[in-house]
């Protein structure tokens, strides 16, 4: 068994010190070591996007990163979006536009939408669809998800929220 390495991650605003094997994926670190099971695993070839989190503000597939690669970094998962039991506008928009069915792709979709709306606050439909290239959904046919992200952009601009 390989030696454990100590890493420090700031996850959803909380600093965590962990001892991990070098081979441990970031997604397993989040789900198993920190109990943050909202980030899901849908494949092992980094196609489906269910594992998407924000790493230093960028959307990354946490199944495609070793935990040791994230040493010293800041991670935001789906659990870190709502503030004081108030849903984030993107979460609210997904609810309003019926963009969720089985919910398995949803956290990844929402985290990807976070990054998109930060960079492009009022994206066009085609831009949204292209941005979701790396996030698969088998239930919704994507239309309501696209509408939710457009609506979230409007909500965020209206509320003066940028992240």
């Amino acid at each position: 068994m390989a030696e454990l390495r100590q890493i420090t991650l700031t996850v959803n605003g909380r600093q965590c010190q962990l001892d991990v094997e070098p081979r441990r994926l970031l997604v397993h670190c989040l789900r198993l070591d920190l109990g943050l099971t909202g980030t899901h695993i849908g494949c092992e070839t980094a196609q489906c996007g269910a594992c998407t989190v924000l790493l230093n503000g960028e959307a990354v597939k946490s199944c495609n990163l070793l935990a040791v690669q994230a040493d010293g970094d800041t991670v935001v998962t789906i659990e870190g979006l709502a503030k004081d039991s108030q849903l984030h506008p993107i979460q609210e928009a997904f609810r309003e536009k019926h963009a969720v069915q089985c919910g398995f792709c949803t956290p990844g979709m929402i985290m990807r939408a976070c990054e998109l709306l930060q960079k492009s606050p009022q994206p066009l439909e085609a831009e949204i669809r292209l941005a979701l290239y790396g996030n698969l959904c088998r239930c919704t046919g994507y239309q309501h998800i696209v509408e939710a992200i457009q609506h979230a952009g409007e909500l965020m601009v209206g509320q003066g929220v940028s992240r």
């Binding site: 909202g38 789906i78 609810r95 089985c102 919910g103 239930c139 046919g141 309501h144």
Partner: protein
């Protein structure tokens, strides 16, 4: 929430979503039970082999090792599962958890247990298996030839079963036809590709560890429960199956699996909770595959476009084992005649075993292949006689005044197919307008000259929805809130929301007052599963009837308490009031307390199991596509649906189901195919080589309701879950043929890959 606003028909936001959008919903892989062990299966990578040797010597040395089992280490692991359909015409051979003669790539030969998932994977890698590869048979036609390798030694010519349906005089009909159209259609095996791979967590319990609770990513917990209890020789009340949140199912999670038996057996053997989660590759290998049909079909017609009759020969690839009987080719056969006047039909079906994963219905369940056959034949007929495809359908479609319509088409277990209600000609007119059919027709010829190839097509069909039985239990608690339990599991269909809408509506409450449970065999032991477009119909009616019973008793009690007649009372926001004297009132909570004090709680259970539960939904779908003739890439530019789903509970839910079904159909039409090599190794085992549609490949939708209430259930509901997948194949493929109309193509093989279409276009271009 105003409880007086009608709840049935309201597109309220879903009750499930607050948890789901926060990542607070727990799927099988998220459940945290202390001391849970990790289970990994060792699977044969070949299509057919014998295990020459199996050794755990190295595996036992790996850190974290807890246990390892071969087929002979626990009797239950080598026992075949109980067949699902005890049909004498079908040679059903079922899976077993472990085998020493694997019959498909993915068949498990050993199972290991370790303290955590990483160590379990290490242990599995250290299991030494030596295989003798055996001859495989990978094509159902080849499988039936004399001398072909046998998948099962006791099934001659690998024939799993056959059936035929016949009505009218088909030979005479074809003899008198002016025109005959003949085509052969191929639908390869596909996979459901639900975003959550399969998984099972089993925990021993009870005072002496004699019970087992399973959490399963399944559509049918009641079925899993009976299967596991039977296999482990336990009483059903020693087994409880709970569905946590489930990340999609689409059919293949509606059948029981050997892993459920194995994980339960191992948990009981080791006395600790055990969890298995499929990797995506494992899910591709071992989750039951859909489709795998080839249909040779002929249509007989008059020169004016009147359809006379149809003949079809269905060849079904059954895979290596059968656990779903012949339901897939049966659904295909039943949907070939469509919503048209057809005087004669003859369908023969045969299913053959091959060394591939087992067959299961996948969204559509075979119906969509029947629809594809008729709709493509009709389009080819229209082309042959120079008639517009919409006009030819209108000529043949059933009229609104003909319902209920007896097709005279025999059902497998007796009776004939009767469509209860519909307005098919109207769906055609409405979808034609919605999609802008005439606009495309007006400009497409000129656009072709400038290199833009745009096409439009419409598909019309009837869809059988609902079957089986479903239970609902409604109880008013002492605080006036209501507990509602239904049987079948939610895999994304919004059970909590839709059933709460119905229950709350009946009891004059807001949906927030309903505590809802589904998919827990302890809460409700009666349920067939969430598939076959059945849940809204079956559970919706069970819920409504149970809630009605509760309401009637509550009204009677309230009238006693208030000294008024039942007719004088109204119920709103959880309070009974005398209509003309509003201050005379009693709460539903108080009525419930009085009922309990009197000895019988305010509670009712209804099992909805009518003799003829099946009700026929319908739709017209339309697609506009653009074809890039150089790359062969097809873009669906827009998509419209006019659908009849009977009484609608929640329009947002229905639209979501339609969008999702169409996009799944789009994948089947353009990119999805399970491929094995001649040795039976699975080549399509990841999202890298099996492409499901992405957001940038999916169209915008316009959906319109045209509801014709069902005649077959009190609520008038029809199912809609599979409707999307059924219309997408003919609409999209038809639109591609239309875009390339001068080439007069018959694109009958799915998927229509871009490279194949590009080749066809290149050949046509060089020939001209």
């Amino acid at each position: 929430m105003n409880a007086q606003a009608p709840l049935i028909g309201s597109a309220i936001p879903r009750l499930e979503d607050t948890d789901l959008v926060q990542g607070a919903a727990r799927y099988v892989g998220d459940l945290q039970i202390p001391q849970t062990l990790s289970v990994v299966f060792v699977r044969c990578p070949f299509g057919h082999a014998r295990v020459k040797s199996l050794s755990f010597d190295r595996a036992r040395q790996v850190p974290g090792f807890v246990a390892a089992f071969g087929p002979r280490d626990l009797e239950v692991l080598a026992k075949p599962m109980q067949p699902m359909n005890l049909d004498p015409d079908v040679a059903e051979r079922t899976l077993r958890p472990l085998t020493d003669e694997p019959l498909y790539a993915g068949d498990a030969v050993a199972v290991v247990v370790a303290e955590d998932p990483y160590h379990a994977a290490d242990v599995a890698t250290a299991v030494d298996v030596i295989y003798d590869e055996l001859p495989t048979v990978m094509d159902p036609n080849e499988a039936m030839k004399d001398g072909a390798p046998l998948v099962h030694a006791d099934v001659p010519n690998n024939v799993a079963g056959r059936f035929s349906f016949s009505m009218g005089d088909v030979d005479a009909t074809f003899a008198q036809a002016d025109v005959t159209i003949r085509d052969r259609f191929n639908s390869p095996q596909i996979t459901n590709a639900s975003l959550e791979p399969r998984g099972v967590l089993a925990a021993p319990g009870g005072t002496n560890g004699e019970t087992v609770t399973l959490w399963v990513s399944t559509q049918a917990p009641q079925v899993v429960r009976r299967c596991v209890a039977g296999a482990l020789e336990l009483h059903t009340n020693q087994v409880r199956v709970i569905t946590p949140y489930v990340g999609g199912g689409f059919g293949p999670k509606g059948r029981p699996y050997p892993e459920e038996i194995a994980v339960a057996a191992i948990a009981l053997n080791l006395g600790r909770p055990c969890r298995w989660e499929a990797t995506r590759q494992e899910d591709f290998l071992s989750t039951y595959h859909g489709h795998g049909l080839s249909i040779d079909a002929e249509l007989a017609a008059r020169s004016d476009g009147t359809i006379l009759g149809v003949r079809a020969r269905i060849l079904q690839d059954a895979g290596a084992y059968l656990l779903a009987g012949l339901i897939v080719p049966q659904y295909a056969a039943e949907h070939i005649i469509g919503p048209y006047h057809v005087q004669a039909a003859d369908v023969q079906a045969i299913a053959a075993y091959t060394n591939k994963a087992s067959l299961s219905p996948v969204r559509g369940g075979g119906r969509e292949q029947g629809v594809f056959v008729m709709e493509r034949l009709v389009d080819h007929l229209a082309r042959q006689i120079g008639m517009d495809p919409v006009e030819i359908r209108k000529r043949n479609a059933l009229r609104a005044d003909e319902f209920p319509y007896d097709t005279h088409y025999p059902k497998r277990y007796g009776g004939t197919i009767i469509y209860d209600s519909g307005a098919f000609a109207s769906y055609l007119d409405e979808v034609r307008a919605l999609i802008g059919y005439d606009d495309v027709r007006r400009t497409q010829a000129a656009e072709r000259n400038s290199g833009k190839y745009r096409g439009v097509a419409i598909a019309l069909f009837a869809e059988s929805t609902a079957m089986g039985k479903e239970g609902a239990r409604v109880e008013v608690d002492d605080d006036g809130t209501v507990s509602l339990a239904v049987g079948s599991a939610d895999t994304g269909q919004s059970h909590r929301t839709t059933m709460s809408q119905i229950c709350a509506s009946e009891l004059g409450l807001g949906v927030e007052h309903i505590h809802f449970v589904s998919g827990d065999t302890l809460a409700m032991e009666v349920g067939t599963g969430t598939f076959a477009s059945r849940f809204a119909v079956m559970a919706g009616n069970a819920t409504a009837l149970a809630a009605k019973q509760v309401r009637e008793r509550a009204v009677a009690l309230a009238s006693e308490l208030l000294g008024a007649t039942p007719q004088a009372l109204e119920l709103c926001d959880g309070i009974f009031r005398v209509r003309t004297q509003q201050e005379r009132c009693v709460t539903l909570a108080e009525v419930a307390r009085q009922a309990r004090a009197g000895g019988i709680p305010l509670c009712a259970t209804h099992i909805f199991a009518p003799k003829n539960a099946t009700t026929y939904a319908g739709a017209a779908h339309a697609a506009v596509v653009d074809v890039d003739v150089e790359t062969g890439v097809v873009t669906v530019e827009r998509y419209a649906v006019v659908h009849d789903s009977g009484t609608i509970i929640n329009r947002s839910v229905v639209h979501g189901q339609l969008h999702g079904g169409v996009v799944l159909g789009l994948g089947e039409a353009l990119s999805e195919e399970i491929i094995y090599d001649p040795a039976g190794r699975l080549l399509t085992d990841s999202f890298q080589n099996y492409a499901i549609p992405r957001a940038d490949q999916s169209p915008p939708f316009i959906v319109k309701e045209h509801s014709c209430a069902s005649r077959n259930n009190p609520q008038g509901i029809k199912g809609v879950g599979e409707n999307g997948a059924m219309g997408a194949l003919p609409a999209i493929i038809g639109a591609v043929e239309d875009a390339l109309a001068p080439l007069r193509l018959s694109l009958n093989d799915m998927p229509l890959r871009s490279e194949d279409l590009a080749r066809v276009c290149a050949i046509a271009a060089s020939a001209s």
